[in-house]
């Protein structure tokens, strides 16, 4: 329950950003010739958007989200400080202030590890969505 406000504060900033990216790539995909073909077969607009366009438009967002994992962790430090949540970010900052370097190292390692895992996961999701990428694996 107490996580809602910090989570909102952290997540809301990304909503606008992601919405802008999805909108831009959606507009690009919707102008593609294969969408015109789908229309030429009279497919319902809902299915064209949901099945034919979104699958392609979502691709850049997946990579972006993986990169956001790192950004979110950094942003979390600030939010944690404001809402006084004992998170990993606050842990690192507090530890740094009292020069407790092993804790700083451990915290950084943990966040970096998360980021390192997130990127290949994103690559795999992209490959699952886009058969053309699968080929280059």
């Amino acid at each position: 329950m107490h996580l809602i406000l910090p989570a909102l504060a952290l997540g809301l900033g990304w909503v606008g950003y992601l919405a802008r990216i999805v909108r831009a790539s959606m507009l690009e995909v919707m102008a593609a010739p294969h969408i015109r073909t789908a229309r030429a077969y009279g497919l319902p607009e809902r299915r064209i958007i949901g099945k034919y366009a979104l699958r392609i438009a979502i691709l850049p967002v997946v990579t972006l989200l993986a990169m956001a994992v790192g950004g979110l962790l950094s942003g979390a430090v600030l939010i944690e400080a404001i809402f006084a949540r004992p998170g990993i970010g606050k842990l690192i900052v507090d530890a740094a202030e009292i020069r407790n370097f092993p804790v700083v190292r451990g915290g950084v390692l943990a966040t970096v590890a998360l980021f390192v895992v997130a990127m290949p996961v994103a690559d795999l999701i992209v490959a699952w969505l886009d058969p053309r990428v699968r080929k280059t694996l």
């Binding site: 030429a40 077969y41 969505l129």
Partner: protein, 326 residues
């Protein structure tokens, strides 16, 4: 005689955008009878694709029909509500586009895309749709059709992709098939195969075909009648044998004279049509071809010629012909 499958009359289309409005098509008229293959030939920019998209009512934003009508089996489709038009697309009329690599979805298997085309038929089970897709692929000569359904577009060669696009268009047995430059990217042996295929399909399904191409050889190979488009106007139309064998309009004659496949003795000085296509944001007042016409009269520049019949089903828009007819 039954009403024509497609009847276009006086169709004018204007593109407006950031620049001056362009009058892409002006008073275009043509009709396609049941089971007939009609060719539309013209240079790039003559409005061939615009015409096809207008029939499908898929013109890009910024393009508007300023005059004329398009009737499909008697119904004026320009006045049709969007929902009814959508029902017509795919089932009544289907279109195959020039480049199948960009015209079909790259991230969905071809089987999924083909089965989606049959979405309208609730009576069909998934297995039925699958069987229909396999049958269509077999019909266009794709080997191992069953296994191909799960593959993606990029895994096929150019000729196969074009066949898949045709198979997709034929799934619902449309009454009118529009083929927009579908053999342009193919080499001659593949082109010949696709043209044979189209002719066989017409005989089998009985559909009419609107065949758009700038390749005169392809037009000659399959079209019953041919319409010649120049800078957005129909300047000559008639039976293909007449258009290619006894053309009357100076532009058609010049176009045929430029075709290197007609020149028997090899030459390195090929004939050309001097001059440029007129600017369609301000089309000339008189005949559209007057500026490049070797036989232009003074009234060709000032007065627009009317359509005159020069034979059975053969019409020309030219002052010289009017004079001869008088």
């Amino acid at each position: 005689m039954n009403p024509p499958v497609l009847d276009i009359s006086g169709l004018s289309i204007r593109f407006s955008g950031r620049t001056d409005p362009v009058l892409a098509l002006r008073e275009v008229g043509l009709s396609v009878q049941a089971g007939e293959i009609v060719g539309i030939v013209g240079e790039s920019g003559s409005g061939k694709s615009t015409l096809a998209l207008a029939v499908m009512r898929l013109l890009a934003t910024g393009a508007s029909v300023t005059a004329g009508s398009v009737r499909f089996e008697g119904k004026d489709i320009l006045a049709l509500p969007e929902a009814d038009m959508r029902k017509l697309r795919g089932a009544g009329m289907a279109m195959v586009f020039q480049d199948p690599m960009t015209a079909l979805n790259p991230v969905l298997p071809i089987g999924t895309q083909m089965m989606d085309v049959l979405f309208r038929d609730p009576a069909l089970s998934r297995a039925d749709k699958r069987a229909r897709a396999v049958a269509a692929l077999k019909r266009v000569g794709l080997p191992d059709a069953e296994q191909q359904l799960g593959r993606y577009l990029f895994q096929f060669s150019g000729g196969m992709r074009q066949r898949i696009a045709i198979a997709m268009a034929l799934l619902q047995r449309p009454r009118l098939l529009i083929a927009d430059e579908i053999t342009t990217a193919l080499d001659v042996t593949l082109e010949a195969q696709i043209l044979d295929l189209l002719r066989d399909l017409r005989d089998e399904i009985g559909c009419s075909i609107l065949f758009i191409s700038h390749n005169l050889g392809a037009i000659a190979a399959i079209c019953d009648r041919t319409v010649v488009l120049y800078a957005g106007e129909v300047i000559e139309a008639g039976p293909t044998a007449k258009i290619l064998g006894a053309a009357r309009h100076p532009y058609t004659k010049a176009l045929l004279a430029c075709d290197p496949s007609r020149i028997e003795i090899p030459t390195r000085n090929l004939p050309v049509i001097p001059g440029e296509v007129p600017d369609l944001s301000a089309p000339p007042k008189g005949c559209i071809f007057a500026a490049r016409c070797p036989a232009a009269l003074s009234r060709c520049v000032t007065h627009r010629p009317v359509k005159s019949l020069v034979g059975r089903d053969h019409s020309v828009r030219c002052h010289l012909i009017e004079g001869a007819a008088e």
